[in-house]
Symmetry: C2
Subunit: 388 residues, 2 copies
């Protein structure tokens, strides 16, 4: 139960043989209305995949009627032919559903450079099956969530319900190149709340800014990241914007932490909590710098509370703080107090998967949390053989 | 033969028992003059170790008479006590040599947070032995180069000689946290050319800018990096500045590539050559972004020419280029031509340790090379257990 939980949506997931394993690899989500509001955010990478270039245009009028997603190939850096493939895919979905291709969002994930004639043929040949399999039942949403998986070990779904009578459902994929984002993070969120596109856009940007944008699993940004939000209005309830944004943010956080929890090869989920920063931007900059220290991430893998690597990383930023005033705690033990060795590092227990690094900058009252993972043998193994 | 190759220098390396292995861990280099010109560059990390804070002051007057270096502890984030240890070390060296402590550079390398009373006592107790062991012979320079090693597998030395009658010698250590710089990179370079401090400073900054500053092994910046250049004037030859700068740059490049070649756990030395950039800054920004992609570095470890990860990384920069116009070659095979799949990736042979990634931005005529390494199981292993 995810994208089909709200009223007014059907979904499917079928086999297009893009994946060599024969697992489902083509997903379709359709908004049956009565409303077809839509909003989306995309990777900020200048190296954008063809489906991102297409979808940025689709969403400009605030209307999305369908989202077609494939795993098994990113269709990125595949040239004019690749863009035509994206266009043809939207046209095929539009023809089958009797809607306009300009209201069909396209998402792809997989290896960059994959998008040849065989890739195109497999997708176009399978669109009719995806349309035929559309279902408003739980099974429809579940099939779609499974079909977008790449190196994910399990589907990611979440739902939220309001006493006011509307609900939200979401699905996500992504296990690497997570910084938003890459390997690739694709998210489709549906709601039956009756909302204008402008409200959806504001709510989606507010929610992603503090959730998906703060997952930095491996510092690598994807060429294909897309987070789409579709509103059917089928509940007939015009949701309160603040309440909707809050529920959407909680759902996005849920999905973001599911992505972190399934990150490629990871053995620790690390929350880097930066507090008492001069500004939220400073807190994010510091958290992100720490999250990108391979040395720290390798130490956490080894259950080694090497706090010097935290300080070495934050010293590379231009955020406001005195490096010699900072406190650093790891899993509740203040191992560095005012820039000097604090409590005994032997007291730190890093054996649980969940790890919290608390950094007190002692400059102001702003804070932010960045979610990352450790650097493990399995990460190296998975990513040294991905294309093979 | 390294720092004692030029006339006017003595050096030593002795055991202070800072390293649990009992290997030499205290090095001393003394400039016997007649001139005592000196210049140095330091880590740009705001989290600076105590010896860096001290040494920045020492070099301000352009005079360095001695450099004392220890491995086995970084003396960073060790508070006022740690700074006093650095000061006391300089005083002890100065007293033994009958010079001023304000002309003694201090360098430390090892674990951050290490710098207690035991650490201080071991260093101060061993300074007399370091002074007694000073030698102008090859053995003196070799002993110093060995004593500064941490995770290095072998000492790094280089020499250059001018037909004009002067020479340069250098030693370096560093195998991780290399981005200049960290794990930590310490370099001492000596010359018997007769040069003013201002000339040394200009030459050293020009040389390090295109050598040590372009090694980015693991994206992590050290708290202790120091590159010092000492001139004795003992050759009696006032070197031509341009010729000296060229020879110094070549020597620094030699040492930088030795650091890359001994980087922790690495199985590939990767040269990222960015050509036809709009500016040298753009070329460096692009090269550095690519050098920091864990996904690309893991792929190279797996001998996988995954060029999509090159493009995904450079797309995160704001350098001037059209991502869909770029050529990327790996070990001579143009795997991406004008933003589309180029020659067959199966033609790329990544089995040699040396790997070249050539990125043609097609924007201008500037270029730069960044030297990095692959991301391997051994890197993860070494850095997950460093403190233990």
């Amino acid at each position: 139960m995810s994208v089909t939980r709200p009223a007014g949506f059907r979904a499917s997931g079928v086999v297009a043989r893009l994946k060599s394993t024969g697992a489902p690899d083509l997903a379709l989500v359709v908004n049956e209305g009565p409303r077809n509001s839509g909003a989306a955010v995309f990777t900020s990478n200048r190296a954008k995949a063809n489906p991102v270039i297409w979808s940025e245009q689709v969403v400009k009028d605030g209307m999305i009627e369908a989202v077609i997603l494939n795993s098994g190939g990113a269709n990125c850096f595949t040239g004019a032919f690749g863009f035509q493939t994206t266009h043809a895919t939207a046209e095929a979905v539009a023809a089958a559903l009797e809607i306009s291709a300009s209201d069909v969002l396209v998402c792809s994930t997989g290896l960059i450079g994959v998008g040849d004639q065989v890739f195109r043929d497999k997708i176009l040949d399978t669109v009719p099956a995806a349309v035929a399999a559309l279902s408003a039942e739980n099974a429809g949403g579940a099939a779609a969530a499974a079909a977008i998986m790449t190196t994910d070990t399990h589907p990611k779904e979440a739902v939220a319900e309001s006493p006011a009578g509307w609900s939200i459902g979401g699905m996500a994929k992504g296990a690497g190149m997570l910084a938003p984002g890459l390997a690739t993070m694709l998210v489709v969120i549906t709601t039956d709340a009756d909302l204008e596109p402008e409200v959806l856009d504001r709510a989606l940007r507010a929610a992603t800014r503090v959730t998906f944008d703060r997952v930095d699993s491996d510092g690598c940004m994807s060429t294909n990241d897309t987070v789409a939000l579709l509103a059917s209005g089928a509940s007939g309830v015009a949701a309160d914007e603040a309440e909707f944004t809050e529920a959407l943010t909680a759902l996005c956080r849920d999905l973001a932490l599911q992505l972190q929890g399934d990150a490629e090869g990871a053995s620790h989920d690390i929350a880097i909590e930066v507090v008492n920063a001069a500004s939220e931007d400073d807190a994010v900059v510091v958290g992100r710098a720490v999250s990108r220290s391979n040395l720290l991430k390798a130490a956490i893998f080894g259950n080694d509370p090497n706090w010097g690597r935290v300080l070495a990383a934050l010293g590379t930023t231009d955020a406001a703080f005195d490096p010699y005033a900072i406190d650093v705690s790891m899993n509740g033990v203040m191992v560095c107090r005012a820039g000097e060795p604090g409590d005994d590092r032997e007291l730190v227990d890093l054996t649980p998967r969940a790890c919290t690094i608390l950094i007190d900058l002692k400059e102001g009252d702003a804070s932010a949390t960045i979610w990352t993972n450790d650097l493990t043998h399995d990460y190296v193994h998975e990513n040294s053989a991905y294309a093979s």
